[in-house]
């Protein structure tokens, strides 16, 4: 039994370390961006436009990942872009999680009219194409970091509400919940003390997934030029620029894309790994 479990644990551990490591690296890059970045991410130098990365012929020393069409340093822009990505992931992800999971918990545990109202809202939300909804909201709220965070919360709370509602429904029907109430707990405290701990692994997994999704939503909004003002570098904005000049300077597209790819992958793997760790049944 012990051996079998050790065997299961190992790949999970590796996955957690790799994905957690990348996120930690990114967080450090975001915090210390002005200190680490070799150049000013906004500094333009038209004589240094579209310089290739360091291993290619014609590379400019000091510009490790090359420059974009305006001569801005790609590496510095990626490091500074990590700030926006991390803020969006943490703030939007967490608030979305708290709101969505609370509504789901209430709908699933209290049922009745709370469930009817919340489920109907979820149905309506599911009939919107999410990207279109996000773009619409940004058009209403105006571009900016705050608008993006609000848009993500407004669009994605249903992701949590749907799943947690279903989990709370199953948990609520179990004997241990009935016995907690027989023992004199109020419904509200039963929900917090009995149901919540049991749906927590799912909440955590969904939360890290949502952080990855938030980063993507920001990138998509930057891509359609509706995100943050052009003077703060974002990965999505870099990708949009790289997409138009992909035949002349592929590195402007590739490096921010790799950063985005690894970040989204890490968040989802982190979620899977943490879910297994937190799961009371697996533990």
């Amino acid at each position: 039994m012990r051996d079998a479990r050790a065997e299961v644990k190992r790949p999970i551990g590796l996955r957690l370390w790799l994905s957690g490591g990348w996120i930690a690296l990114l967080a450090l890059a975001a915090i210390f961006a002005p200190l680490i970045a070799p150049h000013d991410p906004l500094a333009q130098d038209l004589f240094l436009g579209r310089m290739p990365p360091f291993w290619m012929d014609g590379a400019e020393p000091g510009y490790w990942l090359g420059t974009d069409s305006l001569g801005r340093d790609v590496l510095s822009r990626i490091i500074h872009g990590a700030q926006i990505a991390m803020i969006v992931a943490l703030v939007a992800g967490t608030i979305t999680c708290v709101i969505g999971a609370s509504l789901g918990l209430m709908a699933g545990y209290y049922r009745g009219w709370a469930d009817r109202v919340i489920s109907r809202l979820v149905d309506i939300w599911m009939a919107f194409p999410p990207v279109l909804f996000a773009i619409l909201l940004i058009a209403v709220l105006g571009p900016g970091l705050m608008s993006i965070i609000i848009a993500i919360i407004v669009i994605d709370w249903t992701r949590f509400a749907r799943v947690i509602r279903a989990e709370a429904l199953t948990q609520g029907a179990m004997d241990y919940v009935a016995s907690a109430q027989v023992a004199g707990r109020t419904r509200f405290s039963t929900m917090l003390a009995e149901i919540l701990p049991n749906v927590l692994p799912t909440v955590v997994a969904l939360l890290t997934l949502e952080m990855g999704i938030a980063v993507i939503v920001e990138a998509i909004l930057s891509f359609v030029n509706l995100s943050i003002s052009t003077d703060s570098p974002t990965w999505g904005g870099m990708i949009a620029e790289g997409r138009t000049s992909v035949h002349q300077a592929w590195w402007v597209l590739v490096f921010p894309l790799v950063a985005l790819f690894l970040t989204v992958l890490s968040f989802s793997q982190l979620g899977e790994g943490l879910k297994d760790r937190f799961d009371p049944v697996l533990r």
Partner: protein, 336 residues
């Protein structure tokens, strides 16, 4: 009787959902700062000109009155007139719908083929490194959304090994008169396979980007169901009869294992269609989603309303059809 009652309940909730979508989009886009009418007119326009145009589009009335007028029109098939393109919204939207539907259907077919192949491979070579490879591939494919796959594909097949077109639905050089907007189906029916090839080379990458995450979901779920089915007695019986492993999996286990996957595909198909919005933008594909983004940027309120309602209608109809299909395919539910 109960079946009829269930259908009626479903239809009424569908109507409530559509009404909710209409109310939300109607109110939200009217909070947008910036007067859409003022943007239409040349800079020298007087306040009188603006007021006259506002009256023409009905923007001088209260939101509630505007909603009633718009709602009455919609029920008669009149979705108003686009501000930026100055054509009836219904014509514009229905003109673009076939492009988006074709893209979504090509993507769905790709996802089913890819996901099915992966699931069968994982089942045929179970407990080997091949199965582990299938699991890892599906897990990766699932974690990355369509937008990123689209960009990766542009790099692979647009730049590194440029064999597919990275933008548009057709090249301007194509010399072929389409009678309908269903280009692909029309070309198929007219047996013009050169045109079919041309169209597919354009939709290949956007469709594949949409298909990859769904293929991963299909692979995972179908493989799981197959695994459970493979332990059932009738499968063992087929095996003792001497059928090959391929025959046992595809002919005996697959028909019984496929139902949960089919239901899931229905729900996921609406997510896939939602993904076309950004994928069409990425590949400059002239579909509904691309038009929607332009409509938002141009503050074209009637067009935005029309497109959102059409998407919502599409999603709810697909969900309804999937539920009905499920009842038809699952004999246990037919008399329930």
């Amino acid at each position: 009787m109960t079946a009829l009652r269930n259908i009626l309940i479903r239809l009424s909730t569908t109507a409530v959902t559509l009404f909710g979508v209409a109310v939300i989009v109607f109110v939200v886009i009217r909070v947008v700062p910036g007067n859409p009418i003022a943007m239409m007119l040349p800079p020298g326009a007087t306040d009188d000109d603006i007021a006259r145009l506002e009256a023409l589009y009905g923007f001088d009335k209260s939101i509630f009155q505007q909603f009633l007028i718009w709602g009455a029109g919609v029920l008669q098939g009149d979705f108003g007139t686009s501000i930026s393109l100055r054509q009836p919204v219904a014509d514009l939207v229905l003109g673009r719908l076939p492009a988006t539907l074709e893209l979504s259907i090509v993507a769905l077919v790709m996802a089913m083929l890819l996901g099915g192949a992966l699931a069968l491979m994982g089942t045929l070579y179970r407990d080997t490194t091949t199965e582990a490879a299938v699991d890892v591939t599906a897990g990766m494919a699932l974690s990355i959304p369509d937008f990123l796959w689209g960009l990766v594909l542009i790099l692979l097949f647009g730049v590194l090994w440029p064999i597919f077109s990275i933008s548009g639905r057709v090249s301007p050089s194509l010399d072929f008169d389409f009678a309908t907007n269903f280009y692909l189906f029309e070309a198929l029916l007219r047996l013009r396979f050169d045109v079919v090839g041309h169209l597919l080379s354009h939709s290949f990458m956007p469709a594949l980007a949409l298909a990859i995450p769904l293929a991963a979901i299909i692979a995972q779920l179908l493989k799981q169901s197959l695994k459970e089915t493979m332990h059932l007695d009738y499968v063992t019986l087929a095996r003792t009869k001497g059928y090959s492993e391929q025959h046992v999996i595809t002919r005996e286990a697959l028909p019984n294992a496929v139902l949960p996957t089919l239901t899931l595909i229905g729900v996921q198909f609406t997510f896939l269609i939602g993904g076309t919005v950004i994928i069409e933008r990425l590949f400059s594909y002239e579909g509904l989603g691309n038009m929607a983004i332009d409509a938002v940027i141009n503050r074209d309120l009637p067009l935005i309303q029309g497109i959102v309602i059409l998407f919502a209608l599409l999603f709810t109809v697909i969900n309804l059809l999937v539920d009905m299909l499920y009842v038809v395919l699952n004999p246990r539910l037919r008399h329930a």
